[in-house]
Amino acid sequence: MDQAEAQEKIVEALKQKLKTKSKFYFNDLSAILDMKPREAKKYINKMVEDGVLEYWSSGSTSMYGLPGTGKQAGAENEG
């Protein structure tokens, strides 16, 4: 699987789920890609680097989401 293909899979799957949730665990993403976590990480890192995904952190747990989605995005968009 190349990067573009992986990205398409992730974006599509996350968009479909947007109605119910906007933040996803790393394991959700590796399951979408159907890869072992270590392998999936390379693709996901690149997606974050390219701005396709963004991190969200509670401090103890990290999650991933599409930029600009979710309740907090508006409140945090302060440039």
Binding site: Y25, F26, N27, K36, P37, R38, A40, K41, I44, N45, V48, E49, E54, Y55, W56, S57, S58, G59, S60, T61, S62, G65, Q72, A73, A75, E76, E78, G79
Partner: protein, 439 residues
Amino acid sequence: MAKHKTPLLDQLESGPWPSFVSDLKQEAEKRAKNKKGLELQIPVDVVEDLLGVLELSYKHGRTHWKHGGIVGVFGYGGGVIGRYNDQPTMFPGVAHFHTVRVAQPGGKFYSTEYLRQLCNLWDFRGSGITNMHGSTGDIILIGTTTPQLEEIFFEMSHNMNQDLGGSGSNLRTPADCIGQARCEFACYDTQALCYDLTMEYQDELHRPAFPYKFKFKFDGCPNCCVASIARADMSFIGTWKDDIRIDAEAVKAYVGGEIKPNGGAHAGRDWGKFDIQKEVIGLCPTGCMKYENNKLTINNRECTRCMHCINAMPRALRIGKETGLSIFVGAKAPILDGAQMGSLLVPFVEVNADDDYRAIKDVVEAVWDWWMEDGKNRERLGELIKRQGFQKLLEATGIKPVPQHVKEPRSNPYIFWKEEEVEGGWERDIDAFRKDHMR
């Protein structure tokens, strides 16, 4: 005159102990005066508003902080924790009040120049409030706004040779004891190993992909000064294979009162004459020591490296020469199932910098592969070990079971052999069996 009235917080200052409320008030005053004439980059009354919102939380009995956020520095998924206030109109100074975690130096060896640089930066671009150190061991800078984050990171990484620490589902900032730099008990160079693993696992530290947090801690000896056995998902504790070295003359000197026990640590009051029988031999947890005819002997095979005798008589007893470390896994603070101490996974491994600590890294990576794949979201390694069993961990790491892995004789009869573990499998020649065993 304080910006907000804080009668409930004021009460905290009345106790016998130093109060963080007094510290905060002092910092608020310092910012208001701004003697250095700094061009403060976040609101001058940030600390006043922090006191105000805390007072309100005490009054309401609930928090006014929102949970988490998307803020961070570019490319990093950890090191910055977004904090927002749900009363931004009342307390605009803390509307955005993010936390920055900064990797502490190995063994917490600071220079005053470094500390001054760090504090100056934080006075200028943050609230000035620090937590030295968080329970993970890192430097915690409390309270700044989003636009300051990249500026702080740039200054740290370009001018202070300093990186951010870990937060979130990451490898957290590894922490170590002062080790061989100052301590004769250290069985390996904790700072060298801590630094090496920190550099090796930069991706794990900064880009979260674990099910939850993961902590490394390095203790040079079983005294465990950084309490790795209680706090780290993977703790590296120095130990030795051979015998405790005994200096018989020094033992006599302790018994004779010429050398103070425990390095003179209990000199504050008169505890009476040192009694080797009561204070050392009698306290040995395995009873492996004897003091007879003015001679100390140790049955080293029974020694559990509790360190008590070495701590009591450091000039007479020294760690062995064949040193290395033990790896413990699964310690954590309570959330599920209560607090857990680490379980021994590798009884002894040499600490070999020449081969890039390969033996240690092999264990680390095998454990991560298992946990990343089988761990549930927000499940610590210790919880996965409990859920799937220690045996599963041994299979995942390819480590053969040894007596040191066994806490007690089994009490559960429902443990079964697997066919591949039994010579010849389940098939057998019944005629051959009947030769020795009649029906």
